[in-house]
Amino acid sequence: MRNPWGWAALTGFSLLFFVFIYAPLFVIVGYSFNSNPVNMMIWERFTLDWYTGLFGLTERVMDPNSRAAYIESTDQMIAALKTSLTVAAFTTTIATVLGTATAIALARYRFRLRGFYNGFLMLPMMMPDIVLGIGLLIFFVTLGMQLSMLTIVIGHCTFLTSYVFIIVQARIAGIDPALEEASADLGASEWVTLRKVLLPQLAPGILGGALLAFVISMDDLVITYFISGTGDTTLPVFIFGMIRRGVKPEINAIATLIILASVVIAAAGLWLRSRKTD
């Protein structure tokens, strides 16, 4: 950029862009410490009440009668978090296996349906959530399957297989097949070459895919919303329900904790990646 004024303007615009992305998150964090429960947008004083209240530790000042109901909703929230973690763990395992296997098949084998598979494996990712969600809902109900954690895991695996597939495929593209050819020439069987030569080189890609799958599974709202039964709710669906019933200061506290968790996960992911590529 030869023009210093142009560069200054571009810098200003870009910094504003990042303010636009991050300011809303800071608004939540700020107000999660605001003691004003009536209009949470008017700052009263610093408080941790919404956090302690979240875990059923304090009585609500405004409405003493709501205490019992509140502890119940705390239990629901913890249950939702547990469901989310369980679903994400199972989904990540299954989707990582399916996505990695297909990525290897497509990168290392020539077969007639290769082009078809390439498109077929991308499609679940491109399909709008709502279409996939209602498709699965009708499918499960028509089959008479009870909506439960199992149906949520199945739903998540359909599109997360795509994500893992794409991440692992990108990684394979950067791996020189010469090592595998050498392994085959030296008499290793196809299976041994795959396991002992290709898989170790792929590990960072597989880990990256798994991490992404876990994060997206934890965050999925739309598909889970349609196929979670009355019993098992995940955290995003639980929060969605809470927001629909009205804005409460406790939501700020939950949201802040979630933001904190995601920053930690993202930083960990970045650290892992930088360590692996060195």
Partner: protein, 295 residues
């Protein structure tokens, strides 16, 4: 690339995913297609008989009555398409300059800002939308701030308007536009840009003749990735939009969870699906034609 013979291992690698996606992805889509032609039952449920008025209703005719043309649903479809297109346009205008700026930064700060832009991928969608609910509320952050500064006397009514919906969609879609754009801008051949300027082309000419064509694959890629989830979105309009911000996704949700008219909801989903598949098909054919497959 190692080319191996077809083998049992290939089958082993492909079979699980084929089976899984065949049953839990393709079959559900086929069932939507089937349901969209079934008769809605009186009390929820379906009757297993052929019925084409689900589509008739979408295109403006009430069940079985050809005389009354009332395109309520077409209007909502049109609104969904235009909101999605607007989201693409706004995210593009926001991200394009920033992608340039980031690509020109020294290594360390470039990595830092790239990290900042990918961070929202890890954070919760519902939390990020909730933030805008807090900001746009009549008693929310924006109005409190503006009124506190004395800039406005009455609270602005932004929440539950189309503006709020597009704003929310832009906010959640920005990273999806940024990354493909950045990849394209980063690959830009700067020597060509300099040559163009040295040979007397002005900034506008250089942009139109050199920069834009080279970054077009990135623009197209970003546009597709943003447009598709926007068209069928129902969370953003549910939280930030009122009756005027209702999109086709909300209609689908209503048919399944409150109106209990599954065949009509399926027909609406088929419309969303065909829009998406058309966009994908056009994008793929275009990418093949220009030979730029890296978008």
């Amino acid at each position: 690339m190692a080319i191996r013979r077809q083998s049992a291992i290939l089958g082993l690698l492909l079979a699980p995913a084929t089976l899984f996606l065949g049953v839990f992805f393709l079959l559900p889509l086929l069932i939507i297609a089937l349901f969209s032609f079934l008769t809605p039952g009186l009390y929820g449920g379906v009757e297993w008989s052929f019925y084409h008025w689900n589509y008739g209703r979408i295109f403006g005719w009430a069940d079985g009555i050809m005389e009354v043309f009332e395109p309520v649903y077409l209007r909502i479809l049109w609104r969904s398409l235009s909101f999605a297109a607007l989201t693409v346009l706004v995210t593009l205008l926001l991200c394009y300059p920033v992608a340039f700026w980031v690509s020109r930064l020294p290594e360390r700060s470039r990595l830092f800002f790239l990290f900042l832009i990918t961070l929202p991928f890890f954070s919760s969608l519902i939390v990020r939308l909730y933030a805008w609910l807090l900001i746009l509320k009549p008693t929310g952050f924006l109005n409190s701030a503006l009124m506190g500064l004395g800039l406005i006397a009455q609270p602005l009514e932004i929440l539950y308007t189309p503006t709020a919906v597009v704003l929310g969609m832009v906010y959640v879609m920005v990273p999806f536009m940024f990354l493909p754009l950045y990849a394209a801008v980063d690959n830009l051949d700067r020597a060509q840009v300099e040559a163009s300027m040295d040979l007397g082309a002005n900034r506008v000419q250089t942009f139109l003749k050199v920069v834009l064509p080279q970054t077009l694959p990135g623009i197209m890629g970003g546009a597709v990735i943003v447009f598709i989830p926007s068209v069928g979105n129902f969370i953003v309009p549910d939280i930030l939009g009122g009756a005027k911000g209702l999109m086709i996704g909300n209609l689908v949700e209503q048919q399944f969870l409150s109106a209990r008219n599954w065949p009509f909801g399926s027909a609406l989903s088929m419309v969303i699906m065909s829009v998406v598949l058309t966009v994908l098909l056009v994008a793929v054919t275009r990418a093949r034609k220009t030979g730029a497959g890296h978008a």
